[in-house]
């Protein structure tokens, strides 16, 4: 007999959710800001930080996907079927974009001839030799995917807030750290 779904996500899932959420917002904002800067040490610094953050998000997303596939999520709160489907597709889109945005950025970096050296010490392999024409093709792909991710995140946040504060169905408690830390239920690791 399958175990009944838990009331909220595991500590690890909650930690990964908020960590990635924070990293995404920060990295997106730095990305928007840095491209407008003139050639300067500041610009160079922000570009590298942006790349390091992107690679970190990619690594965390791999861990998160592995965790998600091996751990049962909490039960859905009651909602119309179309909303359930929308939520499901939004979650899938988020996961796809967690990978697609950093990978496109990595590919752009490779093609532009500026390979990524994570935290200034760990060189990542390049996708191929520097190729200016290819870099010019990949750049808008990275940006478009990032905007798409921002849009889905906005929809995700709006829907979560509507559930919690308009429908008052307690949806946020499934992912809220405070609640998870104080709970003493046996299924939480």
């Amino acid at each position: 007999m399958p175990t009944p779904p838990p009331k909220h996500y595991t500590h690890t899932a909650i930690a990964l959710h908020w960590l990635i959420a924070l990293a995404l917002v920060g990295t997106f904002c730095v990305g928007l800001y840095m491209t407008g800067l003139p050639f300067s040490p500041q610009r160079l610094k922000l570009y590298n930080w942006h790349k390091w953050a992107g690679v970190t998000i990619l690594a965390l997303s791999i861990a998160r996907l592995a965790w998600r596939l091996t751990h049962q999520p909490p039960a859905e709160v009651p909602m119309p079927p179309w909303q359930q489907r929308a939520a499901q597709w939004a979650h899938r889109a988020l996961y796809v974009l967690f990978f697609a945005v950093p990978v496109a950025g990595w590919a752009y970096s490779s093609a532009a001839g500026f390979p990524i050296v994570v935290f200034g010490v760990l060189p990542l392999p390049s996708f191929g030799p520097a190729d200016k024409a290819l870099a010019a093709l990949i750049k808008p792909v990275h940006a478009t995917l990032a905007y798409a991710l921002a849009l889905v995140v906005l929809g995700h946040v709006a829907a979560a807030l509507k559930h919690h504060f308009v429908e008052r169905d307690g949806l946020l408690t499934r992912m809220w750290p405070q609640r998870a830390w104080t709970s003493r239920e046996p299924h939480t690791p």
């Binding site: 050639f39 300067s40 040490p41 160079l44 610094k45 590298n48 532009a112 001839g113 500026f114 390979p115 990524i116 050296v117 935290f119 200034g120 010490v121 060189p123 520097a130 200016k132």
Partner: protein, 188 residues
């Protein structure tokens, strides 16, 4: 008999030619490149325009005279934006100092066939530094390829001044690599 004479005459002539005019650089087959590190990221660049006057006899390296001029405005970094920056006063200041030069002071054989050390003065942006450049000669037919690499400190030449002095952003060490094709070098 006639053939022998002709060959002999040719040998004398070519020997005279070789000693009279120095070796020639073949720019199309030569390359001067460098690698700098920006926050740990290696960034490769090269100079498209340079010239050299080389008088070098592998048997008498101490008599060598090697002079280089490198056109700093010909720097290529793969990004036009960066190249425009490099011309500015904080970097090469190439309007005021269009060329970097190298003037040898002496050369000597190093361990191994075709290996030499060339000492000399490298001048970039008006600042001169003594450098010792290890080179390796490889010959095939009439062509001689000289390869070598050495490291310079960019701040010794005030390359990357002002806001760019911070070596945690752009490393002080810059690796210079070159491959020079020469004709007319006597056999090693």
């Amino acid at each position: 008999m006639k053939t022998y004479l002709t060959i002999a005459a040719f040998s004398v002539l070519s020997a005279a030619a070789a000693s009279a005019c120095a070796q020639q650089l073949v720019p199309a087959h030569s390359e001067i490149a460098f690698t700098s590190k920006q926050m740990g990221v290696p960034v490769d660049g090269k100079f498209k325009k340079f010239d050299a006057q080389v008088a070098f006899d592998p048997k008498k390296p101490e008599a060598a005279k090697i002079a280089f001029t490198i056109d700093l405005g010909s720097v290529s970094l793969g990004a036009a934006e960066t190249e425009a920056e490099l011309a500015k006063p904080d970097w090469f200041d190439s309007r005021k100092f269009p060329q970097a030069t190298f003037q040898s002071a002496g050369a000597k054989a190093a361990g191994g066939a075709g290996k030499y050390e060339v000492a000399g003065k490298l001048t970039i942006k008006g600042a001169a530094q003594n450098v010792v450049v290890p080179v390796t000669l490889a010959q095939s037919g009439a062509a001689t390829t000289v390869t070598g690499a050495f490291t310079i400190k960019r701040l010794d030449f005030k390359v990357g001044d002002g806001d760019w002095k911070d070596t945690s952003m752009v490393a002080n060490d810059v690796q210079v690599k070159f491959k020079l094709a020469l004709t007319g070098v006597a056999p090693i």
